[in-house]
């Protein structure tokens, strides 16, 4: 039931999020509250191929391949390379820096895109 693609190493995170959305009700509620829209990721790998994933964090918590959720098209699309996506997920880069340097393109409401970062990387050190 893997939704990641081996040609896109960073897409593994979608499996992780899928697992979490499926098994952790608290996480799902929190994520929906935080993001509150359908987000699409258009990743480009080293070979120049592109592939899309969506997360419906508006209602259902559905996640899968493709740019359109069953509930409809995405409210926000994030376009970036697989490599930069991996950096984003691993906390080596942050969305606003990628956005500023043009490595992350956002179609739709940027404000909504800011919330998704918190879902992608949850393991944050605590004071």
């Amino acid at each position: 039931m893997s939704i990641s693609k081996p040609e896109f190493p960073a897409s593994k995170i979608f499996d992780v999020i899928k697992e979490q959305l499926g098994s952790d009700e608290v996480f799902k509620k929190k994520a929906i509250k935080q993001v509150n829209c359908i987000v699409a990721f258009n990743l480009k790998n080293k070979e120049g191929d592109t592939s899309s994933w969506f997360i419906d964090l508006k209602k259902s918590g559905e996640i899968g391949q493709g740019a359109t959720a069953s509930a409809g098209p995405a409210d926000v699309s994030l376009n970036l390379s697989d490599e930069h996506f991996s950096q984003l997920v691993n906390g080596k880069a942050n969305a606003q820096k990628l956005f500023m340097s043009g490595k992350l393109k956002v179609k739709g409401n940027v404000m909504k895109a800011a919330g998704i970062e918190g879902v992608l990387k949850q393991a944050k050190a605590k004071l």
Partner: protein, 608 residues
């Protein structure tokens, strides 16, 4: 923290005899700029960076130069007065000529008076204005970099940034504004105003006040400026035009392909983090934008509810001195879950026991159970709104959960309880309208200034400042604060963990790990530090070690004779653990977690 920024003040006019001179040349240059296409600003820059101290000899040389005489000595070190002198006298004579020719006598005399006033050391129109701005207390430079303050100061600050030197003091640039050309206005106009527009109305007010203030000043100095006023009228017109343009710019900002220059990056960073911090906290509030938001109603607070006790039997329930037992357990380094049980028993025996609630909250947050910690601390504060430890701990918990503004308001309560005179003083200065982060940071800086010596420094003030800077992602400053606090309390495991977490979040995982180890040396049962250690190991790709630390932390939840699997699936630790297993490509282990396997079940594969 307080000693870091001493330098700013002396660099301004007060101690520096050359400052007068710098201003002098600045005035000339701007006029020349309108007329002659200007020279390079490099000569000014070298003047700005001159040392504070000036020998008597140099002072004489400069005096004689300013009075029109020859420099006493050809070699004056770093200051090449020859060129400046020629330039200046050239401007001097030329300007006087043109003004005499072109303007009515009254205007020109005024202007010349002004001019002489400046050179003669007397404080004239411009000087007054300039000095007034510079006389802001030096230490306020400290929070210049915080987002809020930059919002307010942004316009003049942006000037300096784009035109002269990146870190020019905004006050100085503010003085420059009156006689600056239209280019500068265009440089800063769009981005700054869009930032303010997206910010709350409060800042907008500040901005407009400041803007109109500058306009007012323009009119005053126009009297003496003659021809320059024409240019300024043009500038104002242009500004009006820019205002319209600004609105388009705001729209543009949501265009992802917008390519912004590096110059604007810092400003944008601040705007972004502000938006994230304030708007995301309260997206609902943002929708009802019609009413002017006061800070009190924009502060989003997590709804946590009442503290829930475990159903399991509590072995301390029958002990009359459960609170004392809890304190002893904490001191002796026992498992935090045990201490938690003792404190839970204490508050169940006596629900009004403020200190027990406070300690329970502190223990739960160290035990990596933030939600329960917040519930206990809020309960504590309903009983005793001025409980300092609970206020500080709750602000930390809110920060961890991403409710920065709620955290700041707790810190404000903390400081007004502990240092009421500072808050009173600030209220008199009418700072209430400032952005909450800036306002509270200001209060904490004032408090830190009370005792700058390490010997009697209040470590809690440094912690508060650290949390404030952490909340605004000023991690380097936060690290300084926690280090300062550690110089007072080197044996506080909480502080080491806070330092570590700040380092980790500023991408310094390796340094963070050594800070966590320090915390764990001091308190081996510190679950949060162990969890953080695991997170840092994940971040540097050491999955095996990460699993060991996470399992080690989980094993701390096991208390003899008790099964604590209440939040088996939901806890932060399990979520992170599953994530690491996914990263290791071990779905079988994820399954194992989901099936609710005991921590001991991993012993065959992991050493913890």
């Amino acid at each position: 923290m307080s000693f870091m920024n001493g330098g700013g003040g002396e660099c301004s006019t007060g101690a520096n005899p050359l400052a007068q001179f710098t201003k002098h040349s600045a005035i000339d240059r701007s006029l020349q700029h309108e007329r002659f296409q200007g020279g390079s600003p490099s000569s000014m820059m070298s003047m700005r960076s001159t040392p504070t101290e000036m020998s008597q000899h140099d002072r004489e040389a400069m005096d004689s130069f300013l009075n029109g005489g020859q420099p006493q000595q050809a070699n004056l070190g770093a200051f090449v007065f020859e060129n400046m002198h020629q330039e200046l006298s050239h401007i001097n004579s030329h300007e006087r000529e043109t003004y005499m020719e072109q303007h009515t006598p009254s205007h020109s005399t005024e202007w010349v008076d002004d001019f002489h006033g400046g050179s003669g050391g007397e404080v004239a129109n411009w000087d007054q204005e300039f000095n007034r701005k510079v006389s802001t207390p030096p230490l306020s430079t400290m929070n210049r970099n915080s987002p809020g303050s930059n919002m307010i100061m942004s316009r003049p600050g942006g000037f300096g940034g784009s035109r002269f030197m990146p870190s020019v003091r905004p006050t100085y640039a503010g003085g420059m504004m009156n006689n600056s050309g239209p280019h500068m206005a265009m440089h800063t106009g769009p981005l700054m105003s869009s930032s303010t527009a997206t910010h709350a109305n409060v800042t907008e007010d500040h901005w407009q006040n400041q803007f109109s203030q500058f306009e007012g000043v323009d009119i005053v100095s126009d009297k003496g400026k003659g021809k320059v006023s024409e240019v300024e009228t043009a500038t104002q017109d242009q500004d009006q035009g820019l205002k319209l343009q600004d609105e388009e710019e705001i729209q543009d900002l949501s265009d992802p392909t917008l390519d912004l220059e590096d110059d604007y990056k810092d400003h944008f960073d601040q705007v972004w983090s502000n938006m994230k911090g304030q708007l995301l906290d309260n997206i609902d509030g943002w929708k009802d934008h019609d009413e002017v938001p006061t800070w009190e109603n924009t502060i989003a607070k997590p709804v946590v509810g009442d503290y829930e006790f475990d159903d399991t039997e509590n072995i301390y329930m029958d002990k009359p001195d459960a609170f004392t037992i809890g304190c002893q357990l904490m001191d002796s380094g026992a498992k935090l879950s045990e201490a938690v049980l003792a404190f839970e028993a204490a508050v169940q025996q006596n629900p009004e026991h403020v200190e027990a609630w406070s300690r329970l909250g502190a223990a739960q947050s160290q035990n990596e159970k933030e939600e329960l910690a917040m519930r206990a601390l809020e309960k504590c504060l309903t009983l005793d709104p001025g409980n300092l430890a609970a206020l500080l701990n709750l602000s930390v918990s809110y920060t961890n959960e991403g409710y920065e503004n709620a955290a700041y308001s707790q810190l404000e309560k903390w400081i007004s309880t502990k240092y009421p005179h500072i808050v009173e003083q600030a209220e008199q200065e009418n700072k209430a309208r400032m952005d909450i982060h800036e306002r509270v940071t200001d209060l904490f800086i004032q408090a830190a200034l009370l005792s700058p010596e390490v010997a009697n420094m209040d470590a809690d003030v440094q912690i508060g400042l650290g949390v404030l800077f952490y909340g605004s992602s000023d991690y380097d400053k936060a690290i300084d604060c926690f280090n300062a606090a550690l110089s007072v309390r080197p044996d506080d495991p909480l502080l080491w963990n806070r330092l570590g977490a700040t380092l980790a979040n500023s991408q310094r995982s390796e340094e963070a790990i050594s800070a966590y180890y320090k915390a764990l040396d001091l308190r081996p049962s510190f679950v949060r530090a162990r969890y953080n250690l695991g997170v840092s190991c994940v971040n540097i790709g050491c999955y095996q070690e990460a699993v060991q630390h996470l399992l080690g932390a989980l094993s701390m939840y096991r208390v003899d004779g008790l099964q604590d699997d209440n939040d088996f699936q939901n806890g932060n630790l399990y979520v992170t653990l599953k994530r690491v297993f996914m990263a290791m490509d071990r779905p079988d282990l994820v399954e194992k977690v989901n099936s609710g396997a005991d921590v001991e079940a991993y012993r065959n594969e992991f050493d913890f």
